[in-house]
Structure formats: structure tokens, C-alpha cells
């Protein structure tokens, strides 16, 4: 496999080869779920409203041009999919969806719970058309419960998902993770759950309605925090504003680094890495003492790295088998030799945007590796293939459907 695979690659034989998926989602979470299934071989059709999925209006945009075909978010989360338009707010659109469903295995959606059911195309309606259907619904709070109709946003998922209570520093407000991690987490969990359901569907003929809660995804990553309460009645704090640099990003000459104890390195190794003999004094060298002298410890280590470069420190830490991290920037990640060795990126040739290098491979597989099969679809790109070739609408009706705002 090479990083120059083009869309000429003949057939995708990923582990989900032959699984047919309709992706009705307009957001990050559902689109990422669909992309992961597509990355590993499923035939995924993005079905979006004739006005385009909401993600097309979300930046960053290529050249800061907010054109519907230039959303980089849309590009990256819809890689390897085909795309068609369908207006589910019309009776005709809903009938078309019902005609498609018998031919597919999985529907992904992320609308507010009840929205599709109110239109007559909820899980119960669609399963009547295909008894072994899997529907994967990814929403902020899940399909059930008193908050199921509440509106979600990344920051809200993070707050209610327990993680913010331990993130940030004391004396300041709790802090969310940067970017849209919760939405990605929802997508990844959606894909994981769907893969299990597909495995079961093919062995038993039983489908599922999978109900993923993004807030619960976030809370699942707080597993070391949650149990403090039922085991001992405790609530964990955020880190203190001072004396907590060790184990957190610390400024050096040209950026930030993190050092943790453990790994293959002993304390003398770590002391030697920093190069200040004070670190071998008992107040730092003994773990219990170290915990009590954190403010002083921070001072010593910060002083010892302030004139040193992060890459030099990285190499040195690796020699000493230390647990070490340096804060990389997006550009550095783009040029990372390790990611190169893992064949992580793919060059995508998008009809409007042109060539871009896209993060592609979530994990490496020996027999059926990730394959790039095509860029994100332009709006309605595969309409004719789906509606004329597939559902056998006449060319005249196909044109009518567009003019009637169905597709």
C-alpha cells in the first residue's frame, strides 16, 4: 500500500466490504461514524438535504472561502462516501428513503430524537421495510430520558460528561478539551457499536436500533474519576494552580514538553535528564517527599529546561526510556516521520478544492488495510446513479424530483 493510491484502486475489500450504509447525518459525530465504516470497506451513501448537510456550512474552509464544497470538515468526514440529496420533509422524499432501505444494512442518523419518527421514517417505520435493519442514532443525550429533547453542544457534552469537573485549574472555571473531541468520540463509538451489530446481523439476521449518547461517550472516558464516589464518597478536584507543572505542559525554549515518572526510567534518570543535581536531594528523590514539594520541584525543572529545545529533549528522553511528550502543532503533525511510517495520511484530489493531505488511517490492518477510494462527494454527485440507475426513475421523473425540491 502506498500513500499515492488514487481513486483508480479497483475494489475495496475492507473488513466491512459489502455492508451497505445510508448516512443521513449532517453533523460531525454521525459523519465521522459513516466515514469510519467507509474507511474499512462499507459502501456508504451520504444522503443530505438538497440545501446540503449542515457540516457544509462549518469551517475551516479551503482558502477561508465559505463555499458549500469547500468545508474542510465536510471533506474530511465524508471521505470514501458517495453522495446524493434527498428532502425528507417531503412525502416523496420519505417514500424514496423507504424504497432504499430494503437494499441497505445500516442507517446512520443524528437528528433530534423523534424527528425522523415524526416524519414517519423512524426506526420502527424503516424496520417494517427491512426487518434486520440496523439504525445507529448518535445524539447529545441519547434517545431516551428527561433530557433527550434538550439541545446539545460540545461544551455541554463535556460539562455533563464529568470530564470538565477535573479539567483546568482550581480557582478558574472547568475547562473543556479543545476542538470537537466529544463529537469524534460519538462517531467512533457509533462505528464500534455498529460493527458489533453488523457482525450479529449477519450471523443471526437480527438488527438493532443503536442509541449512542455523546455525553455518555465523554463520561465513559472519566472512568478513573467516576468510581471515586461509589468506592469512598469522594469527588476529585482540578489541579492546583501552582506546584502542578510536573506531569503537565511546561514551557521550554521553543515550545512545551510534558514529563511523567514511570516508563523505563528511574528517578536518577529523570534527574539526569533535567541536569540539576538538586533533584537527587531527598526532598525530590523520594516520591512521598516529592508530592509535598511540588512548588519547589516545578521551579527547578522549569529553570532547567527554559533554554533547551523540545526536539532535543524528546530524543534525550527517549534514550533514557522516559515517559515524555512535546506539544506538537498541527503543522508538525502534518510533517511527522512517525505518521509517515504508519502511512497515516492520504492525498485526496477533491474536484473543487484540489489536492490535500488528509488524516486517513485510524488503525492499521494486516489483511484488509485502509483504502482510499474517493474524495467527499459534491452535493448530489451520485443522484443519477442512485435514482435513475438504482431506483429506475425515468430521466423525466428524475428531473421532476429536482424541480420539486425532493432531491
Amino acid at each position: 500500500m502506498t500513500s499515492t493510491q488514487s481513486s483508480q484502486t479497483p475494489l475495496n475489500h475492507g473488513p466491512l466490504d459489502g455492508v451497505k450504509v445510508l448516512d443521513l447525518s449532517e453533523d460531525i459525530a454521525g459523519s465521522f461514524c459513516g466515514r469510519l465504516l467507509a474507511d474499512y470497506g462499507a459502501d456508504v451513501l451520504k444522503l443530505e438535504p438538497p440545501t446540503g448537510a449542515a457540516l457544509r456550512r462549518m469551517g475551516p474552509f479551503f482558502g477561508d472561502d465559505p463555499h458549500p464544497e469547500k468545508s474542510l470538515f465536510y471533506l474530511l468526514l465524508n471521505l470514501n462516501k458517495k453522495g446524493a440529496t434527498l428532502n425528507l420533509e417531503t412525502v416523496t422524499g420519505r417514500n424514496i428513503l423507504k424504497r432504499l432501505v430494503p437494499h441497505i444494512d445500516v442507517v446512520i442518523e443524528s437528528y433530534r430524537p423523534g424527528y425522523l419518527a415524526d416524519l414517519g421514517v423512524g426506526y420502527d417505520d424503516l424496520v417494517a421495510e427491512n426487518p434486520s435493519l440496523i439504525m445507529t442514532s448518535i445524539t447529545p443525550f441519547g434517545q431516551t430520558g428527561p433530557y433527550s429533547q434538550y439541545a446539545g453542544e460540545e461544551v455541554v457534552n463535556y460539562a455533563m460528561g464529568l470530564i470538565m469537573s477535573i479539567s483546568g485549574v482550581q480557582g478558574k472555571e472547568p475547562l473543556k478539551h479543545g476542538g470537537f473531541q466529544a463529537q469524534y468520540e460519538g462517531g467512533l463509538n457509533g462505528a464500534a457499536a455498529t460493527s458489533m451489530a453488523v457482525f450479529m446481523q449477519e450471523s443471526t439476521g437480527v438488527g438493532q436500533h443503536i442509541d449512542v449518547s455523546i455525553t455518555e461517550c465523554v463520561a465513559s472516558s472519566a472512568m478513573a474519576t467516576q468510581t471515586m464516589y461509589p468506592f469512598m464518597g469522594g469527588t476529585l478536584p482540578r489541579r492546583p494552580a501552582t506546584g502542578s507543572n510536573f506531569g503537565h505542559p511546561m514551557p521550554c525554549k521553543d515550545g512545551w514538553i510534558i514529563v511523567q515518572t514511570g516508563g523505563g526510567a528511574t528517578w536518577p534518570d529523570i534527574a539526569d535528564f533535567f541536569g540539576d543535581p538538586q533533584l537527587m536531594e531527598p526532598k525530590f528523590a523520594e516520591p512521598a517527599q516529592r508530592l509535598r514539594n511540588t512548588v519547589e520541584l516545578d521551579k527547578v525543572v522549569l529553570e532547567s529546561i527554559k533554554n533547551r529545545g523540545k526536539w532535543d529533549l524528546f530524543t534525550k528522553a527517549a534514550e533514557k526510556r522516559m515517559l515524555f511528550g512535546l506539544v506538537q502543532t498541527p503543522s508538525e503533525l502534518l510533517d511527522c516521520p512517525q505518521l509517515e511510517s504508519r502511512n497515516f495520511y492520504r492525498e485526496v484530489d477533491h474536484p473543487v478544492i484540489g489536492k490535500v493531505k488528509v488524516p486517513a488511517v485510524l488503525f492499521n490492518l494486516s489483511l484488509t488495510p485502509y483504502q482510499y477510494t474517493g474524495p467527499a462527494p459534491t452535493l448530489g454527485q451520485h443522484n443519477a446513479e442512485i435514482y435513475v440507475d438504482g431506483l429506475e426513475y425515468s430521466r423525466e421523473d428524475y428531473v421532476r424530483l429536482r424541480q420539486l425540491d425532493v432531491i
Binding site: 453542544e153 482550581q170 479543545g178 468520540e185
Partner: protein
């Protein structure tokens, strides 16, 4: 009859720390038989030291290695055997186990599995259709960092996450705990579900080679594209949103109580002003349009804060949501156990331990998805160290009694770890004073209905 997706699937979980062990627990929830393998000299770090978490009633008890909260959460529903893999007999039992299993998960460094002839090519000789999942910090292969030691706590920096996380005016920051571990947890589930499906279809197994670094970078994708095509390096905006405003985390009534909210349209702004009792701000030119709200975010934060700090966080959520504004309180490890949404969905599941474990009943995080036709649930408590040695080695693999006893004799198997120390407990009140705990509820068992 309702069944679970992974019924009949046997998984060897030869993994340590958080990422894949947690995947093992979730695989057991899905119906798999998961056999955790540890060395008598190498108990999982979630049993010992700082990763163990809490102990029941803050008491180490007699068998402290079976009692830590983290161990118990991520090893729920598994079987446990111990095998000294540095002994040829231990490795041979492992090989026999591979022959009757569907999936093997491991997270040793690449060098170790090769030196034991248990890398994928060798694994495949033992069981041609085996599915093997390896998880390492940077992934296998010839890359420059592949042999570097790594752990989620430091990888958050390296995979770029800290670059985008932090207060508006501050440097890069970490958030949560061991973030990227969980990305590997869920990636492993996805890899296993997909590989099992493929094996069903074709009869072929394969090797999934996970690098946590890679999964972490995947979650940075839009920043990488923005840097590449627009030359923009992203950075930190605290709790704000790239285009919605106002958005943030504001103090609510009480000590360390917080509410988050996010306004992205005029109706939301009007609703917020009404709730704050400041209808005049709706049309105030400083705030009236979407762009001015972004520009005057600092001022708006002060106005919001002055309102929220006197109101209960749940009351704030309900009234804001009533206006259609995304909002929710910051929930801590206590709150989550009493929140109506989490309760209604049964997200936290109760596990009752057999009397002899002296663990009582505890609540644990379940999983963030429900299946309408499969009753996914925690299948039982975590096993004690080596609890299923005889069941598996003699029962499943058919070893005779004399051979098994000699393994016990030579500590190739054990039911008590031969190394490892618990971190001494600190009394709760002292932990509060030293800031190790933010709060302590001495009546938690009663309040949770666990007594």
C-alpha cells in the same frame, strides 16, 4: 430470545493499564468470554500504585490487589488467569489458549511478543484465523518513535491535543485523564467488530495494529487541514466556540458549581437576555448582532456570570434549555450518580459482589450505547487474581492435576501477586485538607442505596 452480539466469542486479554483492558471489559458487556492474563510477577497496574483509584470505604482490606476501583471497573465480567510468560511452560499454556480463542489482545512492546514467538506470524501458525489486536503508543513498524516509551498522559501533548486545549489567554494544557487511552479502547472495539465480521464472511483472521498516537491525531484532523491549506495553526480558545457566541462555563450558586451554555442565534440571545432579566440588551447595539456578540464576548461573560452565580446549576439548565439554548451543568463524580438523565438511562450499573469478596455493591460506568435487541450489561464483577486458573488451564485446556500443581509450585501460576505494593491510603479528612479530594460524602453508600 434476545442474545448478545459476541456470544460464543473467546477473547484473550493479555493487556495492561487502561486502553485495551477497558476494551476487554466492554467486550464482556457485549457477550464475549474475556480471559484476562497477567503474570504472577506482573499484576496489572490498576491493582497497584497510583492507577488503582479508590478502595471500598478507603480500606485496602486483605486482598488489596482485588479491590481497587479502576481495576474493578475495567475488568468487570472477565475471567482471570495468571501465567508467567517468562517461563516456557507459561508461554505454552498461552499458545494452547490461542488455539481455542477467537481474538488475542496484547499491548507489549513490539520486541517482547517477537522474542516470545507470539507476534502475529507465529500466532497465525497456532490458529490460522486468529484475530490479533496490538496496542502501542506509536504503533509497530519501522517508524522513528515506534520503540519510544509512551503513555496517554504524555501523548496528549505529542498528538497535538494540548496545543488546542487550554484557557483563552494561557498555554497548552491537558484535560481529563488519560484521554487518548479511550480512543484506543473504542478503536479496538471497532477493529474487533469489523475483523470478526470479515472472518465470518471469509474465514480469515488478521492483525490490527493500533497506535494511540495515530488515533489521537485523527481527532485533530480539521486543525491539520486548516494549517495545511490556510496556514492557520489553531490554538486555544478556552470554553469558547469558533463561531457561536456567547459560549462558556460560568459559576453557578454554591461552591465550585458551574453551568455551561452556548448561544448561536438571535432567538437564543433574546431568550438569554430575558432569563437574565435584561431585556434591554436584546437590542443593545453592542450585542444585538451575532458578530458583535463575538467581539464583545468578554463583556457578555461578565453579565452572564453576574446572573448565573446566584442561581442553582440545574435550574439554570432547565430554564436555558426551555429557551432552546444548549446548556448543562458541570457534573462531578458525585453528581453523575444522581442526575435524572444518567439515572433514567441506567448508565451507571450496579454490580453486586459475592459475600466472600467483601466488596459490597458498587456502581460502575456502563457503556455509551444501547442496543434495542440485545440487553447489553455488565455481566458480573471483576475476577480475583488468578480466579480461573483451574477452570481455564485444567478445565478448558485439559491439563492434568499433577502438571497443574507443579505450575503452582513453581509460581508459573499464582493467586496472589508476587510483586507490587498498594499506595498507602490517606484518611478522607486528610485527603480533603491536602486537596487530594475536592469533596467527601461520608454517607455515599446510604445515599446510593447500596446498603
Amino acid at each position: 430470545m434476545a442474545r448478545l452480539p459476541l456470544e460464543g466469542i473467546r477473547i484473550i486479554d493479555s493487556t495492561y493499564v487502561f486502553a485495551l483492558p477497558y476494551a476487554g471489559g466492554l467486550l464482556a458487556d457485549l457477550g464475549a468470554e474475556v480471559i484476562k492474563v497477567e503474570g504472577p510477577n506482573r499484576p496489572d497496574v490498576t491493582r497497584t500504585g497510583g492507577y488503582a483509584g479508590a478502595f471500598p470505604e478507603n480500606d485496602l482490606g486483605d486482598d488489596w490487589w482485588n479491590r481497587p476501583s479502576t481495576y474493578n471497573l475495567i475488568h468487570r465480567g472477565k475471567r482471570s488467569i495468571t501465567l508467567d510468560m517468562t517461563d516456557e511452560r507459561g508461554r505454552n499454556i498461552f499458545r494452547e489458549l490461542v488455539k481455542v480463542s477467537d481474538v488475542v489482545m496484547e499491548n507489549f512492546t513490539p520486541r517482547v511478543m517477537r522474542s516470545w514467538d507470539l507476534d502475529y506470524p507465529n500466532m497465525k501458525k497456532l490458529k490460522p484465523d486468529i484475530i490479533m489486536v496490538s496496542n502501542t503508543g506509536y504503533g509497530h513498524g519501522g517508524g522513528p518513535y515506534s520503540s519510544y516509551p509512551a503513555q496517554a498522559t504524555t501523548q496528549e501533548a505529542t498528538h497535538g491535543h494540548c496545543w488546542i486545549t487550554g484557557y483563552n489567554d494561557g498555554g497548552p494544557s491537558k484535560a481529563g485523564a488519560s484521554f487518548v487511552d479511550f480512543l484506543s479502547t473504542w478503536t479496538a472495539l471497532f477493529a474487533i467488530g469489523s475483523a470478526l465480521r470479515y472472518r465470518n464472511k471469509t474465514g480469515q483472521g488478521q492483525w490490527a495494529d493500533l497506535g494511540m498516537y495515530q488515533a489521537g491525531v485523527m481527532f485533530m484532523s480539521e486543525y491539520i487541514l486548516d494549517a495545511q491549506v490556510n496556514g492557520r495553526e489553531g490554538g486555544r480558545i478556552g470554553n469558547r466556540h469558533p463561531f457561536r457566541a456567547p459560549q462558556g462555563c460560568y459559576p453557578a450558586l454554591g461552591k465550585d458549581q458551574w453551568i455551561t451554555l452556548s448561544v448561536g442565534d438571535d432567538a437564543g440571545w433574546a431568550g438569554l437576555c430575558q432569563l437574565m432579566g435584561k431585556p434591554e440588551l436584546v437590542a443593545d447595539p453592542e450585542y444585538a448582532d451575532l458578530l458583535s456578540r463575538q467581539k464583545n464576548h468578554d463583556q457578555i461573560d461578565e453579565i452572564i456570570e453576574a446572573w448565573t452565580c446566584g442561581v442553582d446549576k440545574y435550574e439554570l439548565m432547565h430554564s436555558l434549555q426551555g429557551m432552546g439554548i444548549p446548556a448543562g451543568p458541570v457534573l462531578n463524580s458525585k453528581d453523575i450518580h444522581y442526575d435524572p438523565q444518567f439515572k433514567s438511562r441506567g448508565f451507571l450499573e450496579r454490580v453486586d459482589y459475592p459475600k466472600e469478596r467483601n466488596m459490597g455493591s458498587r456502581m460502575f460506568i456502563g457503556r455509551p450505547y444501547k442496543f434495542s435487541n440485545s440487553p447489553l450489561a455488565i455481566q458480573g464483577p471483576s475476577p480475583t487474581f488468578g480466579q480461573h486458573n483451574e477452570d481455564v488451564i485444567q478445565g478448558l485446556l485439559g491439563m492434568d492435576d499433577a502438571s497443574f500443581q507443579s505450575l503452582v509450585q513453581d509460581a508459573v501460576v499464582a493467586q496472589v501477586p508476587l510483586t507490587g505494593e498498594p499506595t498507602p491510603r490517606i484518611p478522607e479528612t486528610e485527603a480533603l485538607e491536602r486537596g487530594r479530594l475536592a469533596d467527601w460524602d461520608p454517607d455515599y453508600l446510604k445515599n446510593l442505596g447500596l446498603v
